[in-house]
Structures are given as structure tokens and as C-alpha cells.
């Protein structure tokens, strides 16, 4: 009894150590080591149930199966078959654990620790029991006990807990209660012995007691269930494993091309069924496909069904399937149908989260802190009063705000006393959060172009007691001209976007977006981002940051825009300071982005239970602007036109060499009217051509792209013009500095004096 208890405790501590470490393998290894220790320590068993033959230690009969259960690196190497099965189950356990639900498991089914205890309690006595119950000479017992252990550790908490519970029941059922541990041993050790058990019975000629036989039957049933559950889990797991769960099935459900369109309402339940089937086939295509059908057919069918069932248009589906694997795309679509939880942000200018939570709970709101990542967020589960109309709301103690909207402001991290610009402020949630972080010091410029939404900005600012904000109504691209370039410390640009990440708020996004619209959004966003960067002072003592965020998941609106800014200004991407979120893309389809874009963060409804979001933090490194390298084909043409139009220089003379270069380069690219991303893709080619083009450049000292501070294009244009004039005999004074009157005149586009 005492020994049993001691083992139990040691098992428990070993279990915790093993679990805290690296999961099933570590747990198994820990258990193995302990068992090896125990089996060697316990020489003659203290108690032997009456009627059993007494065997000691590793007799010849036991040698085959009685081996220490360490996973690797032990003296007695397990047989090859055992090792292979062990590996397979460990891998499966690892795959199941790698599921993104893992944290959920650990929190909700906090009994994972108990499971580990159970598992070790089971592994360790198994061999002891085998010692005592020498009749059970099963070869497969140990690996199956291991399998049990692996399943315990790696399986879903519910499964493990269920099994744990049933083992406890088992021990109660056993009437061999001299030693409670022995009873447990009897239960667990015999679990998983299916075929071998009968042999043992025959061998010993009925030495097993009636109860024990029943117990073994129960264990066999349980093991069967466990195996089935494991098979189910494998089937449901997103990533298909090496060995297929079942034999390949010919796929007959595939529908011909014309069916869905031929009149009548689409059969939604059939569509849903087909979606699942096709997804399953695509997950294990080699094995489950219908040999007559190419993969494209399956994908096409899937798209058609998704369009019918969820209401997306083809463009959106193409994009989603390009961004994600098929199972994940389905998860995203499913999650986007539902709503994200209602969240609110405590206004730290007027209250504290704890007091606010207490006050709201007193009113009848069921809420919780939103997570460890935020100190001011609360999530509302349910409420008997309208959350947006409580006296606390009216007094400005909190603001209803989506949790994803906290993230750009957390990334921005404004300091007290700084000057901050919020370029697209409506309805004012982020602006008020910035003000709360700055504690009403410094200055905030909240800009919103849409006059109807301005009311909400001012209303929220007043309600939440913000006093350091100026609200204006400009087009964001004009802000550098109005406020002055290089005058503020931080800028937040929560750009107007297509809204593909917040489908739950606006379902029309599913069918209403086309490639053109995305392109137009991206164009506007690029201009806004350049304006934002121009506003910031790179030499600011405390700042120099721009945060670009959108509520969209499209790469064209996110990474592409930031990549454009990286090329046009001296900025670099820095870590956003957010602990969670997926990294941004560095390559997508045929586009290649700067590798630092992996520091940007993406958020999805199915992965983080937040609205689809993108956040990227940029640090301005130098105040100058980059000149477009000559290899910038179609992009270069757009950019030069933008820079000229934005008033950076109103030089009316198109430089012949510039336009020639652009035309030549554009011809080299995929045509002059190529969309932005195609231009991005041919950057590599363009750079090679830049070298060739540079040779033909008449301008002196073309700087190597990306290495030096670039001059503005105007001086070069005008310098060339002056060179022409000089060659014609006129005397021209070439001013060296930028701030001089002559330079100012040049900027204004007037003729040089």
C-alpha cells in the first residue's frame, strides 16, 4: 500500500514534469525512466494475490515484453515494430496537439494535468502488474500500454478525461481491493490487451477471476473506442497524415458543369454536402480522387458550391483559395458568417477597468477581461441591459469597440506630450484610445474626410472627455501640405479599405468586390501612406513611427501597399509589439515583397476570434524621399505622375530622358497599363534592366538604387535642362542647397534665374 502510494506520488510529480516539458514524448520518457527505476528497485513483490504463481524479476518468459518504456536512448531497445507504432502514435499525438485549439484544450479541460497523472499511473504499474500477474505474457501489452499513454497525453482533453474517469470506475469495479493500486493495475494494465488476453486465459486455465474477466472486457471495449476516436481525430485533423485513414474512395458525387445554373434554386444542403466531400478529397487527393477527373474540376466544383451556399463571388473565392489552404479557407468562410463577440474598452481617463467591470456587473452585464494582451478590454457575453445605453456609457466610462481595433493603437504606442495624427478617425474609437494612452497631453489631429461621420468623432471625443484633440475634415493626402511635412511624431493610418475582413458586419462585401475595386482602394491607400510618412519627422526625439492598418485580408491592400512605401520612402518595417497574430506575407502568387514584411501582423476570425485585420508598424529612417529607380516599369510611371501631381514639384517640363526611360521600361514590363502587382513581380527583371538603362542615362552620377539618399527628381530634370542651356552658351548659377531662394523657386516650378 505504502509503496503503491509512493509510486503514485512519484508518478504524479513525474507526470507534471513531463507535461510541463514537451508533451507526450517527454511524458512517456519520464514515465519510462521512472518505471525502469521502480522495476529495478522492487525485487520481490510485497503482495501477491493468492493463487498466483510467484515469479520474480525478469524471468525468461517476461524478458520479451518487460522492457523499460523510455522513448529513446535506453539499453533495452524495443523491437522494431513497437518502435514504429510508438513513433506513429507519438506523431499523431503531436499533430493533434499542434492543432490551434491546443490552448483552448489546456484552459478548458484543465485536467490535462490529471490525465498525465493517470497515464503515468497506468504506465508504471503495468509492468509491475505484469510481474505479479505473470500469466499475462502478452507481447503487445507494453506497446499498447504506451499507445494508451500517448493517447492520453496527446488526445483531446475530453477523450483523455473520459478515459481517465473510466479507469477510475474500473478500479472501483475491481474487487481486488487489498491493494488499491493493484486494483488500478488490474484495470489499466490489462487495457489494450485484446487478442493476447484470450491466450493468457487459456494458458492459465481459468486463473482469472470472474470480475477480472469482466474488467478485461470493459477495457477492450474502451480501447476499441479509443482507437475509433483516434481514427476520427485523424480524419478531422486539418493536415492529412502520411498514412491514409481509409482506403481511397472513388468520387461519384461530382456534378457536371451545367447543373447549378440550370434554373431553379440551388440545392443548398446538397451544396454543403458536396463542399465537405470535395474538401475531403482535396485533402488527400492522390488517394481519394476519381481518376478520371483533374484537380481543377474538383476546385471548380468547390468554388461553385461555395458561391451558392455562402454567397461569395468568384473573385473573392479565388483570392481566399489563393491565400489559404482549402480546409483553412473553409474555416475562415464559416467563421466570417458568425459575429465576433461584443467588446468594449474602458476609458482610462475617467475610470479603471476593474471599477467599470464592477459597475456593469451590478447592472446585469455578464463580462470578462478580453485577454492577457489588453489591459483595457472587456468582452460582453450577455447582458440584460443595452450595453450601449447604460449611465456609465453616457458618462464616457467606456466605448464599444471591436477588439481588433485595439491593435493598431497598441502598436502605435503613443507617448505623452507627442504630436499624433489619426488620418481616418471616424468613429473615433482609436483616437480616443490614443488620447487615453497619452493622458490628454500632447496633441492629436483627428482627420475625417466624410462630413456625416464627423459627428460621431466629435461626439465620442466629448463623451470620453478628450481635451487634446483637433478635429479637421481634409482629404488625407492634403494633410502634409496643411500641417507641414516632418512635423509630427506618430501617425496612425487606419486606411479606408474594401472591408473583406469584416464580412460579419457587412455581408455585401462577399459578392460586391471586384479586382477593380481592390485596385482602386490600393491606389488610394498607397497615396495616403506616402502622405502619412511625409507627415512624420524622422528625427523626432520620441517617435518617428507610422502604423498602417486595414480591416482587410487582401494582399493587394496590405503587404503590397507597405512594399510600395518601402520603395518610395526611407522607412523600415519594425516589430509591431503584438504578441499574437500571423506574420505578413513575403510572397504571394507571383509577387515578392521585402522580407521585413514578415513583421507585419495578420489577424483572422477563425484563428483569433477577431475581425480580419492587418497591422504594420513603420519607422521613418530618413526625411528625404526616394527617387524612383529606373527599373520601375509601370509602377514608375504611376509614381512619377503622383509625385508631380501631389505638388511636390510643379515642374511642367517632362524630361525627355525620364519619359523615354519610363516608356522603355514599361515596354519591358507587362505592358504599360499593367496593374500594380504585376509591376511588383517584374522588379527583379526590372533591376537587371536598370543597369542597362542607366548606361544610356545622360544624367551624371546616377546613384545606386536603395543605397544612398536620393535626390529629388526635379533637380535632376532641371539640372539637365540647365546643362542644355549651358551648352547653348547661357550662364547658369547652380545653387547647391535646398533651402536657398533659388531652390525654392525651382520647387515652385518657376524658371531658374
Amino acid at each position: 500500500m505504502a509503496r503503491g502510494k509512493g509510486q503514485g506520488k512519484a508518478a504524479a510529480s513525474g507526470g507534471k514534469a513531463g507535461r510541463g516539458g514537451r508533451g507526450p514524448q517527454a511524458a512517456v520518457a519520464a514515465a519510462g525512466k521512472q518505471m525502469a527505476r521502480k522495476t529495478k528497485a522492487a525485487a520481490p513483490p510485497a503482495k501477491v494475490p493468492p493463487g498466483k504463481k510467484q515469479r520474480t524479476g525478469f524471468s525468461d518468459e517476461n524478458k520479451r515484453w518487460l522492457k523499460p518504456m523510455a522513448a529513446k536512448g535506453t539499453t533495452d531497445a524495443p523491437p522494431a515494430a513497437v518502435a514504429k507504432r510508438k513513433a506513429k502514435y507519438a506523431e499523431e499525438a503531436a499533430a493533434v496537439e499542434d492543432d490551434s485549439d491546443r490552448e483552448l484544450m489546456d484552459d478548458e479541460f484543465g485536467g490535462a494535468g490529471d490525465d498525465a497523472d493517470e497515464e503515468l499511473g497506468l504506465d508504471e504499474p503495468a509492468s509491475l502488474k505484469a510481474e505479479m500477474w505473470s500469466d499475462e505474457d502478452s507481447s503487445g501489452e507494453e506497446p499498447e500500454a504506451e499507445e494508451f499513454g500517448a493517447l492520453h497525453a496527446g488526445g483531446a482533453g475530453a477523450r483523455g478525461a473520459g478515459l481517465g474517469e473510466s479507469s477510475e470506475e474500473d478500479s472501483e469495479g475491481d474487487e481486488d481491493s487489498d491493494d488499491q493500486v493493484d486494483g488500478e493495475l488490474g484495470g489499466k494494465g490489462s487495457s489494450g490487451n485484446s487478442g493476447e488476453q484470450e491466450d493468457d486465459d487459456d494458458e492459465n486455465g481459468g486463473e482469472l477471476m470472474e470480475v477480472e474477466r469482466k474488467a478485461q472486457k470493459l477495457d477492450r471495449a474502451r480501447a476499441r473506442e479509443a482507437a475509433e476516436a483516434a481514427a476520427e481525430a485523424r480524419e478531422a485533423a486539418p493536415a492529412p497524415l502520411g498514412e491514409p485513414a481509409e482506403a481511397p474512395v472513388p468520387f461519384e458525387v461530382l456534378v457536371d458543369a451545367g447543373e447549378g445554373e440550370a434554373g431553379g434554386a440551388p440545392d443548398l444542403s446538397a451544396a454543403l454536402r458536396r463542399i465537405r466531400e470535395v474538401a475531403r478529397v482535396l485533402g488527400n487527393f492522390a488517394a481519394l480522387r476519381d481518376p478520371g477527373r483533374p484537380r481543377a474540376d474538383y476546385v471548380e466544383q468547390l468554388k461553385r458550391d461555395l458561391m451558392a451556399y455562402y454567397g461569395y463571388n468568384r473573385f473573392m473565392l479565388d483570392t481566399l483559395l489563393a491565400l489559404f489552404s482549402v480546409p483553412e479557407a473553409l474555416e475562415l468562410i464559416e467563421a466570417a458568417e458568425g459575429r465576433r463577440p461584443v467588446t468594449l474598452r474602458a476609458n482610462t481617463l475617467k475610470t479603471r477597468r476593474r471599477e467599470l467591470a464592477a459597475a456593469l456587473i451590478a447592472r446585469g452585464v455578464n463580462l470578462d477581461p478580453v485577454g492577457k494582451w489588453s489591459k483595457v478590454g472587456l468582452v460582453v457575453y450577455e447582458s440584460s441591459v443595452p450595453v450601449g445605453a447604460t449611465p456609465e456609457y453616457m458618462a464616457g466610462h467606456y466605448m464599444l469597440q471591436g477588439a481588433a481595433s485595439f491593435l493598431p493603437v497598441m502598436a502605435l504606442a503613443p507617448q505623452e506630450g507627442e504630436q499624433v495624427v489619426d488620418m481616418a478617425a471616424a468613429p473615433g474609437g482609436k483616437t480616443t484610445y490614443i488620447a487615453a494612452l497619452m493622458r490628454n497631453s500632447g496633441m492629436i489631429f483627428a482627420n475625417e474626410i466624410n462630413p456625416q461621420r464627423l459627428k460621431s468623432v466629435t461626439g465620442n471625443l466629448q463623451r470620453l472627455g478628450v481635451t487634446n484633440t483637433i478635429v479637421c475634415s481634409y482629404d488625407g493626402r492634403e494633410l502634409p501640405r496643411m500641417l507641414g511635412e516632418r512635423t509630427v511624431d506618430r501617425v496612425l493610418l487606419d486606411a479606408p479599405c474594401s472591408g473583406t475582413g469584416v464580412v460579419s458586419k457587412d455581408p455585401s462585401v462577399k459578392a460586391g468586390k471586384s479586382k477593380d475595386e481592390i485596385w482602386r482602394c490600393a491606389h488610394l491607400q498607397k497615396q495616403l501612406l506616402l502622405a502619412a510618412i511625409d507627415l512624420v519627422d524622422a528625427n523626432s526625439k520620441t517617435g518617428g513611427y507610422v502604423v498602417y492598418s486595414t480591416c482587410s485580408i487582401m494582399v493587394e491592400e496590405n503587404e503590397s501597399v507597405v512594399n510600395y512605401a518601402l520603395r518610395k520612402r526611407h522607412v523600415k518595417v519594425v516589430p509591431a509589439g503584438l504578441e499574437f497574430g500571423r506574420p505578413g506575407f513575403t510572397k504571394y502568387r507571383d509577387l515578392r515583397f521585402h522580407p521585413s514584411l514578415a513583421e507585419a501582423r495578420r489577424f483572422y476570425p477563425h484563428a483569433h476570434n477577431l475581425d480580419g485585420f492587418f497591422v504594420c508598424k513603420l519607422k521613418k529612417v530618413a526625411n528625404a524621399k526616394k527617387e524612383a529607380p529606373s527599373g520601375d516599369e509601370g509602377e514608375g510611371k504611376y509614381e512619377d505622375a503622383e509625385e508631380l501631381a501631389a505638388g511636390a514639384a510643379s515642374d511642367p517640363n517632362p524630361d525627355p530622358s525620364t519619359s523615354a526611360r519610363n516608356l522603355g521600361a514599361a515596354a519591358a514590363a507587362n505592358g504599360g497599363g499593367a496593374p500594380m502587382w504585376a509591376a511588383d513581380s517584374s522588379r527583379a527583371r526590372g533591376k537587371a534592366q536598370a543597369g542597362a538603362a542607366a548606361v544610356q542615362e545622360p544624367s551624371p552620377a546616377q546613384p545606386t538604387p536603395g543605397k544612398e539618399k536620393k535626390r529629388k527628381s526635379e533637380p535632376r530634370i532641371l539640372r539637365e535642362a540647365k546643362a542644355e542651356l549651358a551648352s547653348a552658351g547661357a550662364v547658369v548659377a547652380v545653387p547647391a542647397q535646398r533651402g536657398t531662394p533659388a531652390a525654392k523657386r525651382r520647387k515652385a516650378g518657376k524658371a531658374p534665374q
Binding site: A359, G388, A389, P391, E392, M394, A395, G396, H397, Q419, M443, A446, L454, K455, S456, V457, T458, G459, L461, Q462, R463, G465, T467, N468, T469, I470, V471, C472, S473, Y474, M482, L483, G484
Partner: protein, 179 residues
Amino acid sequence: MRPLTEEETKAVFEKLHKFLGKGIRHLVERSDEDHVLRLNRNRVFYVRESLMRRATNVARDKLVHLGTCIGKLTHSGKFRLTVGALDVLAQHAKYKVWVKPAAEMQFLYGNHVLKSGLGRITEATPAYTGVVVYSMTDVPLGFGVTAKSTSDCRKMEPSGVVVFHQSDVGEYLRSEDDL
């Protein structure tokens, strides 16, 4: 954005005097930074001087809001306090009234405060002065004008009006457009 004229400034300070009495000093002479009053499109803003200077960059027709909006000037030059002034008033209020939880919502709907809803009132409040209305948890709810002095309030019947409603935080929901 322009500074206020003499008459306008007088109108504003007269109104504030009703609520703050001598406490107007605190608005004008502040320890941290000088605050000024500016007018933009009939709205009077109370704002830090540095913020005001930076706001001169913004064009007059594009400037919407500045610092704290404390009230509006009517055509005839009269000044009316709006709910945005509540924070400023609540900081330096001379006379305060606390309402019971049951009567909170009534006041927030825009009704007057009745005697039955009156929780506490500052001692020696004269009649027809400006008061700030708080909930029992010391959250400012709005402001108004007393109907009776404190001693008279004690003698009133329960359905009598104690405080005439002028402005409350419920306006953020009811009349967001008028702010």
C-alpha cells in the same frame, strides 16, 4: 477660429459664474498651461493655448472641433452651455446635487429632478443657481438650475421640481447631431 469679442466673452463668463461663482478663476488662471476661449462656427471652445496655435494651420471651414466645446452662441449673442462643458463644470462646481438611482434614468431622459429623486444637496444652495447633478456614485450626469433653495427643498412635497434640467449626458445618445 477667432477669439471672442468683448460681449461674447462677457456672456460666457456670466453663464459660467452661475455655476462656478468665484471658481471662474480656475478656468482662466491654470497652473499647468494657459487655456483660451475660441469661437468657430458659433461654438465656443475652451482649449490649451499650444493646441490653439497649432490649430491655426487648419482652414476655417475644415476645422470642426478643438479641445473642449463648452457651448454655443446664438444669433442674438446669447450663450448656452452644452453637455461638453460638464467635465469642466464638474471639476470646479460650487453647488452639487446628488440623485437617487431610481431617478437617475429620469434625469438622463431629459426630465427635471423631483424631490422624490433628490438624494443630497449642498448646504446653502440659493434658488436659481446653476448646479451640477451627480449620481450617488459621484458620476456627473448633467447640470441644471435649482428651483428652490436648500431649506425650501426640505419642505417641499415629493412631486415638486427641485432642479430644472438644462443638459445631461443622455444627449450623447439622444441628440448626437446637435452637439
